[in-house]
Symmetry: C2
Subunit: 265 residues, 2 copies
């Protein structure tokens, strides 16, 4: 299946292709106009701590939907969905360590599992491109951002603590102000940037060494712009050492039926 | 103590006066420029359900801060505060019924109590007045709004369910559009209205019969405008019949150190 075949369809159609294993790769550029989401699944006994954690850290962890314990459907953002099969890749963390990557989690799902969908800055790729702001990382087949652990600490809650993770896009200096204005209108997709310019200010000493994704160096006329990233829960799973968290694989997001225009403030 | 003496002080100063029992009345018009909050305290075993409930119903239940279990301080919105003493009045609900009103809750506080602060439209009194939009209910000493149970259902979560509660302000027809524009910028204080005009559309058959507060009839040039109201958790406590919820008494709010200007979007 070609990426183009799924770029102008609905979120539901992408989920169906993923569920049927017809689409197994990253979701960037799919279902244009629809909000994509980061996933974190945790046991119910940590759910109040984690929900409080998200509430205290809305930039890295903007809440789109919180499922009911044991219910794999996300009825508000994606009616008819099944969180166990509708993402093209999952990561399983145990006691703070990544133990496996799998293509579905039907065999792992339990009645005490609670799903959290967090907004995702992949949505910005489209918004910025539509505004004529160039996104060079999109030229690569997997469209991967440069993602880093920063020295900014999340505000802890219960057992959850850890660093804010940031995704860097090189942006032409002439476009920086507009890129900020535009993304600030989407707080549910991480909103405006965390930082503009030299990453050393936020603890990134060597930008060529990404923690996730792939490094795209700024061109002559560009500057680094860092947005909070939905990989933060994975860094938090590792830093907190909680017994279990299941997330999406990097770039393999949950595609919702929520229209991007509806989350603009 | 005169209301005027506390109208241009900080949130912290109001809390100190309340804690010392120097101020025991409603908080409208106090600490101008600071955000006031509705309170709901529930046992930890219902906290994840209630937090999910708030997340699903952001208009009636906009979250300002969620405390850690057993901690009576709200360190993010009011450092040094004590939720057990810093409100001028509390209501205690048991099994869905209001059982008492008390002036502090030190004797009731337990290690499993979790405090939720929800934004409050009392903030709008000031914002609208400053914009030259007349607020006739403020002419009364207690400045009480007309508050009604509507026929709009909250989206349930776990054990929590119930109706949206709305507060009505009569607004001059010439000012309605601007009142909506202005309040829409404050989603953490309930945001834009639920409804404009005849209350029968949202299940209010006789506006003279308020469920809380006091009826202020619209004048000749005015129309009813209904905003979602932070009394909703009290209606939800009653409809859900949960074993215990402690709230503020009507109009007797928690005054934070958060500046109103900082929550404007």
């Amino acid at each position: 299946m070609l990426r183009e075949e799924l770029s102008n369809v609905s979120g539901k159609q992408v989920r169906e292709a993923v569920r049927a294993k017809k689409w197994t790769r990253t979701t960037h550029g799919l279902a244009r106009g629809y909000v994509q989401a980061n996933l974190a699944i945790i046991p119910e006994r940590y759910a109040f701590d984690f929900l409080r954690f998200c509430q205290r850290n809305p930039k890295p962890c903007p809440l789109l939907e919180v499922g009911d314990p044991g219910n794999p459907e996300m009825p508000r953002t994606a009616p008819g969905s099944d969180i166990r099969t509708d993402l093209p890749g999952y990561r399983v963390y145990k006691d703070g360590a990544l133990v496996e990557e799998v293509s579905d989690i039907g065999h792992l799902w339990r009645p005490d599992h609670v799903s959290f969908l967090l907004g995702c800055s992949l949505s910005f790729d489209e918004i910025l491109t539509d505004a004529g702001i160039s996104q060079r990382h999109l030229n690569e087949e997997n469209g991967r951002l440069s993602v880093y652990i920063t020295n900014i600490a999340c505000e802890p809650a219960g057992v959850f603590k850890g660093p804010v993770v940031a995704a860097m896009r090189p942006i032409a200096r002439k476009d920086v102000s507009r890129a900020i204005e535009i993304t600030s209108r989407y707080p549910l997709a991480h909103g405006g940037p965390l930082h503009v310019g030299d990453g050393r200010d936020i603890g990134i000493s060597d930008p060529t060494k990404v923690d996730w994704g792939r490094y795209t160096p700024p061109a002559e006329d560009e500057i680094e712009v860092y947005w909070a990233c939905g990989v933060t829960p994975q860094a938090v799973a590792m830093a907190s050492g909680i017994p279990e968290m299941i997330t999406h694989s990097a770039g393999h997001m949950f595609v919702t039926d929520v229209e991007l225009s509806s989350i603009r403030t």
